[in-house]
Every structure is written in C-alpha cells, then in structure tokens.
C-alpha cells in the first residue's frame, strides 16, 4: 500500500505555501554570521581602546591598554588559575545545589497547596531583600572561608531557580494533562513524562540566571572577606595598585563566567530539541 500524501499534507507546517518561505541559508553562512559580527564589533572596541589609551598617554594605573592586560594574563597565568579555580569550584557547587534545591522546592509548592500558601510570600520577600547586603553577616557567622561564599552563592541563586521551575511545572496546557489522564497516567508518570519535559525551557532559563548569580555571590563574598579566590585576587591587585593584574583577573573571571553560561546554553540546545520558532505549539492543527 503506497503512501500517497494528499496535496494538503506537506512536510512543512500547515499554512506555509512553498513560494513564500525564506530562501534557505547555508549553515556555513549562518555560522559566519553568528561569530563574525560579534567578533568584528568586539575587535573594534579593543582596537579603539588600545589606540585611545596609548594616544592620550593614559597611565597604566588608571586604565591599561588591552595589550598590557593580555600580557599580564599570559605572564601570571599560574597566579590567575590558582585563584580562579577555588572560585569556580564554589560557583559550580553553589549552582548545582541551588538547581537541585530549587527544583525540589518548586515541586513541593506545585503539588502542595499548603506549601504554596505558606512559602510563596517568603519567596517573594526574599527576592526583594538585596542578598549582597547579607554577605558581611555571613562572614560573621561562617568565617572568611569557603562556606560563606558557597552559602551566599546558593542563597542568591536559589530563589530565581525555584520560581522559574515552579512556573515551568505549572505552565502546561490543560488538554495535555487531560490526555495523559485519559491514557491512565499516574501522578508520578505525568510529572516525570509530561510536566518535567514541558518545564525544560523554564528550567534552563532558570539555570542560566542561577549560574550568573552564583558567580556574583561567590565574588561578592570574596570581596567582603576571603583568603583566596578570584575576588580576593581582584581586591589584592587593587590594593597593590596593580591595575593590569586587577583587570587581568576581572577578564579571567568574565571568561570563566562566559564559559559556564555557554555550557548551559549548549546543554539547553541538546536537551530542548523540539522547539520550533513558535514553540508553544503542542500539536494543535
């Protein structure tokens, strides 16, 4: 039995006549566009910076040119890595804890009305309190070591993750739930196989926010008081009036942050493979 698709059942999403579709762009050009334009813009900024600083004779202690920063990064890479590593380690740990905690908490307030009514106001209030102002308090309670940094990172990153996860678990088409129940899905099955995958875009959104906040938490805690870490190094360099080192440390921190964010974005593309541009489309005709 040969399958003859009727003229209406084309491979394109319904409603897109072939003639009006945009011309296909080759992957190579897409790649070039994605990297080329930002690269060009970034390089222009760096070149301008270099020329202006040298041209106006700006003192290194105020603003070193990119070439000096780069040289410092190369010359003192061991010092940079030595202090970058503990900060990264604490960032990742704090991030993982906040994601795990956030998702668990979100599940709790999704499935328990009592929990939701009890905790939701607390969550809202906590969002308003600037957690950075708590950093000195943590130093008093937990000392100047890694615990304070970890806790601050966790605390800052936890609540946004919870909220995103909760919204993700609850933002679901009623019809999908009806369908799953009609086919005898248990509550657990519906959670695992319907709510959770459906929540993925929100979870990843939350994770992108969390990783950024975790970095901030760690660095701020190190600024207030610390014995090691990239925040410690930045402060140290500032105190020594070694601006090139300070900017090298800041650059290293930024690159590390970009890397972590990029890893999550990459994971997101792998995990959330099913979204089309109009991604709320769950199979409506």
């Amino acid at each position: 039995m040969a399958s003859t698709a009727s003229p209406h059942e084309t491979r394109e999403p319904a409603g897109t006549p072939t003639a009006l579709r945009p011309p296909a762009v080759s992957p190579l050009i897409q790649r070039a566009n994605a990297i080329g334009w930002p690269g060009l813009a970034g390089s222009s900024v760096l070149v301008a910076w270099e020329l202006l600083v040298r041209g106006f004779g700006v003192k290194e202690i105020l603003l070193p040119p990119p070439s000096v920063i780069l040289r410092t990064m190369v010359e003192r890479y061991d010092l940079l890595l030595q202090h970058l590593w503990p900060s990264l380690y604490l960032t990742i740990l704090g991030f993982v804890l906040s994601v795990a905690g956030g998702v668990l908490f979100a599940v709790l307030i999704t499935y328990s009305a009592v929990a939701r009514r009890g905790f939701y106001p607390i969550i809202v209030v906590s969002q308003v309190v600037p957690k950075i102002s708590i950093a000195p308090l943590f130093i008093v309670w937990f000392g100047t070591g890694a615990v304070s940094s970890l806790l601050l990172a966790f605390l800052i990153a936890f609540f946004p993750m919870t909220i995103n996860a909760a919204v993700g678990l609850q933002t679901i088409d009623e019809d999908v739930l009806k369908m799953a129940r009609a086919f005898m899905g248990s509550r657990w099955q519906i959670f695992l196989k319907v709510r959770l995958p459906n929540a993925m875009p929100y979870l990843f959104g939350g994770m992108k926010i969390s990783i950024t906040l975790a970095i901030i938490g760690v660095v701020v805690s190190e600024f207030v008081a610390s014995q090691e870490g990239i925040g410690y190094l930045i402060k140290l360099a500032g105190g020594l009036l070694d601006t090139p080192l300070m900017m090298a440390a800041i650059t290293a921190l930024s690159l590390a942050g970009l890397l972590l964010y990029g890893i999550i974005a990459w994971a997101e593309r792998r995990v959330i493979y099913w979204q089309s541009p109009n991604y709320l489309d769950i199979g409506t005709g």
Binding site: H8, E12, M184
Partner: protein, 270 residues
Amino acid sequence: MLTRSERRATERQSSESRPAGSAHLSLRSVRKAYRELEVIRDVCFEVREGEFLSLLGPSGCGKSTLLMMIAGLLEVSGGEIRVGGRSVAGPRRDIGVVFQSPVLLPWRTVLDNVLFPIEMLNLPRRQFAARATELLVMAKIADFAEKLPRELSGGMRQRAAICRALIHDPAILLMDEPYSALDAITRDEMGLELLRIWQIHRKTVIFVTHSIREAAFLSDRVLVMGRRPATIVDEIIVDLPRPRQIDVMEGEAFNRHVRRLRKSIEASHG
C-alpha cells in the same frame, strides 16, 4: 471505596471479556450538574459492539461533557455509565480517546507518541512497537514515525493521535470533535480515512460533532442532543450501505437523513 491508584491497578489487570449479550456501552439516567447548574439531565442510551454512533448538537450543548464522563475523566452527578458490563469510575484501559486538538507531546517522535499509552500502562514497549508501526502504516504516516510533531501538518498529527488511541487495543474509541479544527476539504478526507481504518479495526466508536453532514456520513446511528439541560431529543438510524464513498453525500437517501437531523436540531435549539 477504592482509591485512585487501586482503581487504576485493577483497571490495568482487567481482561476485556464481557458478559455475553449485554450492551457494550450503556448510559442510564446520566446527569451532570455544577453546583445548581444542571448541564445534562437524564441521558439514556445503549451502544452495541462495533457500532459507529454520533452525538450531534451545536457547540456548548454538553456533548463533550458527556463524552468526558464516558471516558472516566469527569464524574457523573447522577445515573450510571457502564462499559463492558462494568461501571465507569475513572479512565479505563478498554477506552481510547481522541481529543479536538491532537495534543501530541512535542518532545516525542510520532512513534513515541503513539506508544505513550503503553508506557502509561507499564507494558513492555517492544511488544507493541510492531503494532505501532502497523497503525502508522495504516494511517499513511509511516514515513514520519521518527519525526517530531512540529514537522507534521494538523491533519497528520490528528491521524497520529488516532493511532495513539488505538495502540492499546481499546474496545471503545471516543472522539471529541476531532476534525473541527481542520478545513472542510481535509475534514472530508479525514472522515474517509477514519471509516477506512474503522473497517479494518472494528471498534465501537462514539463520535461527537456539530456537523450534521459529518454525523450522517460516518455513523450507523445519530443521537441528537438538546439544549441545556441536555438530553437525547432524537435518534436517527443511518442505514446507508458500507463502505461509503464521498458521492454518497449527493444521494437522496443521505439528504433525507440530513434534513431530518436539521429539523430535530432546530426544533430543540430554536
């Protein structure tokens, strides 16, 4: 009083045998009310095994509500619904449902979507994979088995949804206006497809629609539902021979049925 999980457990283990001679599906004095608002009152009818029955009425008259009660997704406020001799108390294995929108899970391939009920029933996937493929072949979308729903047109997704509703071999297929979201031409074709599939896998079908022509073309029998509080106001036997082609709709016999149905609807809904 069984808990929800206990009910589900017994459901999964139940065989599909029924006492011989009893109606396959029966509704007795079924009533539905939300607080004081009565939407359905005293619906009674029976369906034979392998019968294609339509529930016809304009939008909002409660036919979907009635279907959801048969599916076990809504509770009856009064009366009883029996399928295969057993009272309906929740979703059941011997019932399959096709909704108005296909509601496929966007992160699953078409094949995985079709196998979804199997997973919910904790049955081994391997056992049913072949059957899933068969159904897709029959629905003429086998080429799309590994595609994601977003790559299919609306009509194709609905066909996948029908396959899904059949994978666990339910005795009864409930269809809630499955083609209302499609254009008229596709709709006619889908109707033909449905009949073709139905000829192969002879299920009892309860088909809810607001289209008189569709009801008459597809069914053995059409029940007309009245205005709220709804009840069955008319019953028409469509005795046209099968298999039916599109040109049946030009015939006098067909149009006689259509006129009769229209009169019933106008009479009850004004």
